[in-house]
C-alpha cells in the first residue's frame, strides 16, 4: 500500500475510534442540550407519540368530520410547538442558522411560545391565500374553457413569486430590525427546507394546478387545511397528493390492523437510528475528515480514497437525514393505519441516473416531473418534436439535435429544484450538475441504442461479456458509476471552485497512474 492509502486507512480508523466516545456522550445530558436544535427539529415530531391514544380515540369513536378537525388541530399544534427550537438554558440552542446574531441569543419559554403561535398563524394565512388562489384559478379556467393554460400559468407563477418573495420579506425584516430582530425574522420564516414551508409550496402547486385542471374538486377549507398540515409529513414530506391522502384517511377511519402497530414502531425506531447515525457523521466524522484535509495542505496532497470518502460522507448525511425523517413520518402515520407513500426504494442499486431519481426522494421527484418537466418537454419552448411523424429515420446529427434541445428542460427543472432548496448559487450549481448527469445518461443511452441497431462486432463483443444490453456485468458497473456520480454531485453544494477542484483530482489521478 502507498503512503496515501495509509492516509485513508488512518482516516477511517480515526472515524471508527470516535464511535465509543460518541455512544458515551449520548448518556450525557449536556450533549442533548448542545444538539437541541438538531434533535428538536429531527425528533420533535416523536413527542406526538404521546398524543396517539387521543388520536385513536377520535379515530374510532368520533365521526370522520370531527376526527379530521382533531387531526388539523394537532397538526397546527405541531407547527406552533415543534418546528422552531425551544430554548436550552435560557438561550437559543446551538446550531440554529441565524445570520448576524451573536453567539448566544437569549430566549425565554414565553417568548418562544408566542413566536410559535405567530408562526402557525403565518402558515394558516399563507394557506388561506393558496386556497383562495386555487378557487379563483378554478373559476377562471372554467370560464376560459378548452384551453385553460393561461389562468393556470398565472396562478402557478404567482405561487412561485410568492414563495421566493417570502425570502425577501424575511430579509427585509432582518435588515429593517437589525440584529435585534434576526430571531423574530427567523422564527416567522425559518429555513424553509427545515420547517415545512418548502413542502407546503410543492403541495400548493399540486393543489392549484389540479384544481385549475378540474382534477381536484373543492371539498372545503377544513379538508384542505387538514391535508396541508398533516403533521407526520408536514416538515420534510413525503408529499402526499390530495386524492391519495383522502383515500387513505377514509380507509383508516374506524379501521385498524394489528400489523400497523409493530410496523409503525419499527419504522420509527429505524428513522431515529438513521437520525442518530447522521448526527454521529456530522458531529464526529466530518470534523475528523476536515482535520485530515487540513493536514494534507492542498487538494493535490489529499489521498485519492479520502476524496471519495468525502463524497460518500456528503451522500450519507443527506440520505440519513431525509430517509430518517421519512421513516419516522411513515411510522407515525402507520400507527393510525394510514399507509404513506414511500420516499426511497433501494436508491443505492440504481443502474443509471434517471432510475436514481425514481428511487430517491420519490414524492418530490414525481412532483417535479408532473408539474415541471413533462409540461416543459411537451409544451415548452424546448419541447420534444414527435418522432413518428418524421417518417424515415433521421441522421445522427438530427437525432443529436433532437436530443440536446429538449434536454434543456432537465436543466430548467433541476435548477428550479436547486433554487427551491434555497435561493443561493451553490444550490443552483447543484441543479446544473444533476441535470448534466441526466443528459450524460440520455446521450450514453442514445449512443448504445445506435450501436445496438447497427449490431457491430464491438457491440456483439460487449453483449458476450454481459456488459451491454442489460447484462449482469453492465448492471453492476452501472450501479457503481451511478452511486459515485451521485455522491460527487452533492459536493457541488460546496461551490463550483471546490467542486471542480475535487472532480478534477478524481478524474485526473487514475490517468496519471495508468500513463
Amino acid at each position: 500500500m502507498s503512503d496515501s492509502d495509509w492516509g485513508t486507512a488512518a482516516l477511517l480508523t480515526a472515524i471508527l475510534a470516535e464511535v465509543p466516545e460518541f455512544l458515551r456522550q449520548l448518556r450525557d445530558w449536556s450533549f442533548w442540550q448542545d444538539y437541541g436544535f438538531f434533535l428538536q427539529t429531527r425528533w420533535g415530531v416523536l413527542l406526538f407519540l404521546a398524543a396517539m391514544p387521543l388520536v385513536w380515540l377520535f379515530q374510532f369513536l368520533a365521526p370522520r368530520r370531527w376526527w379530521l378537525v382533531f387531526l388539523t388541530t394537532l397538526s397546527l399544534a405541531f407547527i406552533a410547538f415543534t418546528l422552531v427550537p425551544w430554548p436550552v438554558n435560557g438561550a437559543l440552542p446551538r446550531g440554529v442558522p441565524l445570520p448576524g446574531a451573536p453567539a448566544e441569543v437569549p430566549l425565554s419559554w414565553q417568548h418562544r411560545a408566542v413566536l410559535g403561535i405567530f408562526h402557525a398563524g403565518v402558515v394558516v394565512t399563507l394557506l388561506a391565500c393558496v386556497y383562495g388562489l386555487a378557487r379563483v384559478g378554478e373559476r377562471k379556467c372554467r370560464q376560459v374553457g378548452e384551453n385553460p393554460w393561461s389562468p393556470l400559468r398565472a396562478a402557478v407563477l404567482l405561487l412561485v413569486v410568492g414563495y421566493f418573495g417570502l425570502y425577501l420579506v424575511r430579509h427585509a425584516i432582518q435588515t429593517a430590525g437589525g440584529r435585534s430582530h434576526a430571531l423574530e425574522a427567523w422564527m416567522l420564516f425559518p429555513a424553509f427546507h427545515e420547517t415545512g414551508l418548502a413542502f407546503v409550496f410543492v403541495k400548493s402547486v399540486h393543489y392549484v394546478w389540479d384544481s385549475c385542471r378540474g382534477r381536484i374538486y373543492n371539498t372545503g377549507w377544513w379538508r384542505f387545511l387538514c391535508w396541508m398540515t398533516f403533521f407526520p409529513s408536514y416538515r420534510v414530506g413525503p408529499i402526499e397528493r390530495y386524492h391519495d391522502f383522502y383515500t387513505q384517511i377514509h380507509r383508516c377511519h374506524r379501521r385498524w390492523r394489528a400489523s400497523d402497530l409493530p410496523h409503525g414502531v419499527r419504522r420509527i425506531v429505524q428513522g431515529a437510528a438513521k437520525g442518530l447515525l447522521a448526527l454521529f457523521i456530522v458531529e464526529r466524522a466530518v470534523p475528523t475528515l476536515g482535520e485530515h484535509f487540513v493536514k494534507a495542505g492542498s487538494v493535490e496532497a489529499i489521498p485519492y480514497l479520502s476524496l471519495w470518502v468525502a463524497a460518500w460522507t456528503a451522500l450519507a448525511i443527506g440520505y440519513l437525514m431525509l430517509a430518517g425523517y421519512t421513516d419516522i413520518a411513515v411510522g407515525l402515520a402507520r400507527l393510525m393505519g394510514y399507509r404513506m407513500v414511500e420516499n426511497f426504494k433501494w436508491m443505492f442499486v440504481s443502474r443509471n441516473f434517471v432510475e436514481l431519481w425514481h428511487r430517491a426522494h420519490i414524492s418530490m421527484s414525481h412532483c417535479l416531473r408532473d408539474y415541471c418537466y413533462y409540461p416543459l418537454i411537451r409544451r415548452g419552448p424546448f419541447r420534444r418534436r414527435p418522432l413518428m411523424a418524421a417518417g424515415a429515420r433521421r441522421s445522427r446529427r438530427e437525432e443529436l439535435t433532437q436530443l440536446l434541445r429538449p434536454g434543456v428542460n432537465y436543466y430548467i427543472t433541476f435548477m428550479l429544484c436547486g433554487l427551491w432548496h434555497a435561493p443561493v448559487f451553490n444550490w443552483l450549481f447543484w441543479g446544473f450538475c444533476t441535470a448534466s448527469g441526466m443528459m450524460a445518461f440520455e446521450l450514453w443511452n442514445w449512443f448504445w441504442q445506435r450501436r445496438a441497431r447497427q449490431n457491430g462486432r464491438f457491440y456483439r463483443l460487449l453483449r458476450g461479456l454481459r456488459i451491454a444490453d442489460g447484462g449482469l456485468v453492465g448492471r453492476v458497473l452501472g450501479i457503481a458509476v451511478t452511486f459515485n456520480f451521485f455522491s460527487v454531485t452533492l459536493l457541488a453544494l460546496l461551490g463550483p471552485q471546490t467542486f471542480l477542484l475535487v472532480l478534477g483530482e478524481l478524474v485526473r489521478r487514475p490517468f496519471t497512474w495508468i500513463f
Binding site: 394546478w209 434517471v354 408532473d370 418537454i377 420534444r384 414527435p386 413518428m388 441504442q449 441497431r453
Partner: protein, 82 residues
C-alpha cells in the same frame, strides 16, 4: 385502432429502434425497469400513443402509465369516454 401488445411493439420499435419479441413485451412489462426507456423516450411514446389513438394524456397521468398493461387500460378508458 386497437390498443394491444402488437401495437405497442410497433410503437416501441419506432421510439427505440429496437425489435421486441412477444416474450419481452407483455402486459406486466415496465417501460423503465424492463425496457430501459429514458424520460425523453417515455415522452416520445406518449406522443405516439396520443397521435395514434387521437387522445390527450394529462401530464399528471403520465407517471401512472408504468407498464404496458396500465397504458392499454388507460387508452381503452379514454377512448370509451370520448
Amino acid at each position: 385502432m386497437v390498443a394491444d401488445l402488437a401495437t405497442f411493439r410497433q410503437m416501441l420499435h419506432g421510439v427505440t429502434g429496437k425489435e421486441f419479441d412477444e416474450q419481452t413485451v407483455t402486459e406486466q412489462t415496465s417501460f423503465r425497469d424492463d425496457l430501459g426507456l429514458t424520460s425523453i423516450q417515455t415522452v416520445d411514446l406518449i406522443m405516439a400513443i396520443e397521435e395514434r389513438f387521437g387522445i390527450e394524456i394529462e401530464d399528471v397521468d403520465l407517471g401512472k402509465l408504468r407498464t404496458i398493461g396500465e397504458s392499454i387500460a388507460y387508452i381503452k378508458d379514454k377512448t370509451q369516454s370520448t
